[in-house]
Symmetry: C2
DNA sequence: TTTTAATACATAAGATTCAGATGTATTTGA
DNA sequence: TCAAATACATCTGAATCTTATGTATTAAAA
């Protein structure tokens, strides 16, 4: 687990990337996928995730569909057309940022 | 310039790295150095920098000395013993975080 | 020569964003 | 059967940053 401040500012990018890879996902699924892929190093809390999903939806970046799994409601999120380009844009920006930071912090390639 | 949220959480790491490289620096100097090294891509605002410097000082990570340049006061910041290890620690943590993100976002090496 | 830009410190108000706590309800597995 | 996992979500508060503002000195340009 990283110190909490590090994750800041990357949540939106992570969520958009996950949805770009998986067509549609529900909230809990996103938290688990990220946890799995990062070997528990990044754990998205629900208190952070849901407000983010809702704000992305409000901005037209995400689309939702509700389904019933038995009696339980499940809310799927997927990228809108706009969301697809937004996702690429965000990932590219982060890649650029990493290069800048790598240089600034003189980090040698792993 | 990156979207503001990206920088979040990295300010402390950047400041500590700058001081590890330069022995002692004053606030304004740090903002300019980072601006120069990143080709204006990262611009630390003073409203963000000074609270950070003060809190690092309060935590015993930084030491200050005040000097007069003409009539103007200049406040130099440098790493304490504890600050030196903290600096390495922070940079290493960020390097690790970048690797995790690179994998998660499937970013190919530049 | 005057006045603008740059240097250099700093604070304060507000926004954003995240963590942690809490809440509800269902379903699976021990 | 009862605990743990699944799945949604909200709310309070803490942390951190942005924008704006303020003071004062010094260098450079008009």
């Amino acid at each position: 687990m990283y110190s909490s401040e590090l994750i800041k500012g990357t949540l939106k990018t992570i969520v958009l990337k996950m949805l770009a890879e998986n067509k549609r996902m529900y909230g809990y699924e996103i938290t688990q996928k990220v946890k799995d892929l990062t070997g528990n190093k990044i754990q998205i809390t629900e208190g952070a995730l849901y407000p983010t999903l809702h704000s992305l939806e409000a901005d037209g970046i995400l689309i939702t569909e509700t389904e019933y799994i038995g009696k339980r409601v499940r809310k799927y999120y997927s990228l809108s057309k706009e969301g697809q380009s937004k996702s690429k844009e965000k990932v590219n920006e982060f890649a650029d940022f990493m290069n800048t930071m790598k240089f600034l912090l003189e980090i040698k390639p792993a």
